[in-house]
Amino acid sequence: MPTVTLNRAEFEKLVGKSIPDAQLRDRISYLGTDLDELTKSEIKVEIFPNRPDMLSEQGFARAFSSFIGVKTGLREYAVKKSNHKVIVESSVKAVRPYTACALVKGLRFDDEKIKEIIQIQEKLHITYGRNRKKVAIGVYPFEKIQTPIRFKALAPKDIRFRPLESSKEMSGLQVLSSHPTGKDYGHLLEGKPKFPLFVDANDQILSMPPIINSHEVGKIGLDTRDVFIECSGFDYSVLSTCLNMIVTALADMGGEIYSMEIEMYGKKMVSPDLSATPLAFDLGYLSKRLGIELSEAQVKELLGKMGHGYSKGKALVPSYRADVLHPIDLAEDIAIAYGYENIPEVIPKVSTIGAEKPFTIFCRKVSDILAGVGLLECKTYHITNKDYQTTLMNCSVPLISLSNALNKEFSVLSAWNIPLLLEVLRSNKHHEYPQHIYSLGSIFKKGQSDTGVVEQERLACLLCSEQADYTRSKQILDYLFRMIGVEYSIIAAEHPSFIAGRIGRVVVKGKKVAYIGEISPQVLSNWELDVPVSGFELNLSELFDVI
């Protein structure tokens, strides 16, 4: 999860008071964030993905200061009109259709501050921006730009500019193939006939979102005072919320926010829009969900501690909050402000009857019976590999593979479980014999279900010792069937993993439910085993269905 590292002195200035360690620790964890590290000079906090607005020092300090009651209620940010324009051309509609923009003026930068802005941008890119796919953010020194700014798309070969930190000009495709950022994010533009661009009134390229800014006009420096900020992507309201997270942070840094007019596909809008979103809620609903009686005055105060305003039955949700979709989200904020630690514990008198699935009980009984005859239960993974399931077993079985396995060793779902136990035997050759083991686990095959995959529970049982033979395995199978009170018969069968003539199918009520036999010497040698093995694999799901 993303973290934000705060300069403690700066943070306390933003919050409006100094806070002792113990209180910091306690309050940070009850605000819905995790404290990672706390020193005299630094605070490192983990931010949950629902609160990207806290990914800046300013955003976190704002939330914290409200939470501890220093500065509560909705923060008002003044937005001045700038008369500068951004025009979105129709050429960009097919590749990256929307942008939300703003100007922030009167900033004072030092190296620290520049680093901070880059940090905010990067953290939002990764989280809320879904690695720039959903939102890409650009920040530019406004002094170097002539408006109106146009957001348009050009064929990659017609694009030429010097990307950030590069020594030479490149074409659109060169940026993707040779610039480090182009290599990381190139997949977002690959194959598109046109690439999006921000260009100014002098046709200077500002950037090629979501990849990279221009080195000449896309880099803020120590002498930058005013910045142009744009967020580009596919959903205007998402872009607008993201822009608001950034401009409010910059305003808290001392900047003044100016609006721009955006002409977009025949519509004109003013950006940024920092007005709070009113969200109506029913006080009774919130009280009922939380289980605490709340008065209107109390709710107003609690909402204020979470940075919300309140007016006549409606919460005024700050424009930078991305996580308030439903009144229940207000309930959570109210609960946080109330303090999770202060919420009473109530054990309701609701009578229900506990029950296990009959099949679970059946499987446990089977397991107990096998343990009772001296076998050790093993626990194996359901993910294995083709070699184990087929090649080493001298047979072929239809397998279901993973499309994105991490490695070959764990790349298919088990289709039968004897191979999993042979693997156990192979890794235990240095231990004492006899090794008599069993396992219960699911097997996977194609069939009728909503996924097209059917799962069945199987019992695999292997005896490995000098004396392991068909008789001993059948004794165990026979004991198991006698104990569960099921009659069975065994018919001769063929199976390439077993010794010919020493392999049978177990039949219960006309249904073939198990293989039993002696593992063939070829298979044993494939597994590098030099002690005889016999055993069986029983389909518990089918057996349970017929009895």
Binding site: I343, I353, K357, T451
Partner: protein, 510 residues
């Protein structure tokens, strides 16, 4: 004192009785076994028992010994190859094949002999159809003279290297260079030191017969009457045995299941392969959520996708615009194709979603639990598994609220052995409010994170159940609890199936 000794003597095990007369300080186990005509194992057992009685002590002594190799033993009987080679040669030159046949040597041995004897100038070699060997004068001298090596080989092995004379040392170093004749081995021997008690024990005459074992024939014939049985050292160590048993993870799973059952929860179960629809979409996880990415979730290659239930239409609305839930939804377009993708379930919450979707009004209020495997696309390392158990419970109750969640948690975790529970704000996409569960560790007195909880969002319950019924939910992984109980630091041990470990692992006693 003397009666004590009498008593001890009387109760000696038959094996002990056999060794006692031969015991002497400084004697080795091997020597004792030989003298008492017992096997090494039997003699050792007798010594251990006697040591338990404080009649003697056993010390391990490391000793260098010169021992005969396989060839050495052979040559001791037949003579060294060069001797056999020389004897085979008479005054006339002989071909190599003849020599080898006459002396019973293989070609490797013949080659060694030629090299050796050449160096001693004992033979001449001439080449005709094959190599012809004849004796030189020096060689003729050697025929009747015993070499140092031969003398050495006649000694009784094993030999103490410190006892060797200079000539013998030379012979040893020569023979050591050759394959499998002699070797200097370090062996450890068990050496006996008698205590005063042991010395006395040797002198005691055992009077009166004691029976060693009660037999069924004694019982049938009544011969046991009037017999005394040898007294045992009841504190004695016995060889360890192990039994069949369920895997320790299964034992822990059973325990957790029992807690849920005691609390009136009904079991949920279901498939591990699921559609993204049930695993994620029905739980209001947006379609661009990072949890869906390939580096987090295992997808199935074939069949790559499944089918959607009729309820999918409602889920689409909820995602796009909130539907009738009062939510704004996530915006954007919801894709049925993304929802159809088959995956290995990422959480057991998929079972909770399916359960509430099937629930009829008459079944409310109700409580459900599941204990099942879930999957994450992670490499195995000491802290991570790609497949692990998740435990989860839900309470479906129109009157349920956040205070009840805290109450249930207290009850559940108290039963788990953690009576101190607290919750902190947390974040899970499908619950609101959400919380992290922390318990006070009873030994370290530190708060540890053990799970998560919350109340299902309206965006989850309303489309699945047709109305917004509060559903309290909480869950936890089993790994931490199991590792802690058995002191396991590498989580991979849970599925390592080391049979020695499985045999020796203590039982889950909770």
């Amino acid at each position: 004192m003397s009666s004590d000794i009498q008593n001890i003597a009387k109760n000696l095990h038959p094996l002990e009785r056999k060794v006692v007369p031969y015991l002497a300080t400084g004697m080795s186990l091997a020597e004792l076994a030989q003298k008492s005509k017992l096997s090494i194992v039997e003699a050792m057992r007798a010594l251990q028992w006697l040591s338990n009685r404080k009649a003697l002590s056993i010390t391990d002594e490391k000793k260098e010994l010169i021992e005969l190799g396989k060839n050495g033993t052979d040559y001791q009987k037949k003579g060294l190859p060069e001797r056999r080679f020389l004897s085979a040669l008479s005054s006339t030159p002989l071909g190599i094949s003849q020599i080898s046949k006459k002396a019973g040597l293989d070609s490797a041995e013949v080659n060694i002999c030629i090299g050796l004897l050449k160096r001693k100038a004992a033979i001449d070699i001439s080449k005709e159809k094959e190599m012809m060997i004849s004796l030189t004068d020096a060689g003729k001298g050697l025929v009747s003279k015993e070499t140092l090596e031969e003398k050495f080989l006649k000694k009784k092995f094993p030999l103490d290297p410190s006892s060797l004379a200079e000539e013998e040392k030379f012979a040893f170093s020569e023979l050591k260079k050759r394959k499998g004749i002699v070797a200097l081995n370090v062996s450890s021997q068990k050496i006996i030191t008698l205590t005063d008690l042991g010395k006395k024990l040797k002198t005691v005459k055992v009077s009166g017969k004691v029976e060693d074992k009660l037999t069924s024939s004694m019982l049938k014939t009544g011969k046991w009457k009037g017999k005394t049985f040898r007294e045992y050292d009841v504190s004695i160590n016995v060889p360890a045995i192990s039994g069949g048993k369920r895997h320790f993870v299964s034992q822990a799973v059973d325990y957790i299941r029992k807690i849920w059952l005691e609390m009136g929860f009904e079991e949920m179960s279901g498939n591990m392969v699921q559609t993204s629809f049930w695993d994620l979409d029905s739980l209001f996880v947006p379609q661009d959520h990072p949890a869906r990415e390939e580096q987090d979730t295992f997808y199935i290659k074939d069949p790559a996708s499944g089918t959607l239930p009729p309820i999918a239409k409602k889920i689409k609305d909820v995602h796009e615009n909130g539907g009738d839930t009062g939510s704004s939804g996530w915006g954007g377009k919801w894709s049925p194709d993304v929802a159809k993708e088959n995956l290995l379930r990422t959480h057991t919450t998929v079972l909770s979603a399916q359960t509430i979707a099937r629930l009829r009004d008459s079944q409310i209020p109700s409580k459900f639990f599941s204990v099942g495997k879930v999957f994450r696309n992670e490499s195995l390392d000491p802290k991570h598994l790609f497949e692990f158990y998740q435990v989860e419970g839900i309470v479906v109750d129109p009157d349920a609220n956040f205070t009840h969640l805290k109450g249930y948690l207290r009850e559940f975790f108290t039963k788990m052995g953690y009576p101190d529970v607290r919750i902190r704000p947390g974040h899970f996409g499908y619950t609101e409010p959400s919380a992290e569960i922390e318990v006070l560790h009873p030994v370290t007195k530190k708060w540890i994170e053990l799970g998560g909880c919350g109340v299902f969002r309206a965006e989850v319950t309303k489309p699945l159940m047709g109305k917004e019924v509060p559903v309290l939910a909480w869950g936890l992984g089993l790994g931490r609890i199991i590792s802690e109980y058995w002191n396991i630091s590498d989580i991979r041990e849970l599925y390592k199936n080391d049979l020695k470990q499985l045999r020796e692992m203590k039982a889950w006693m909770k």
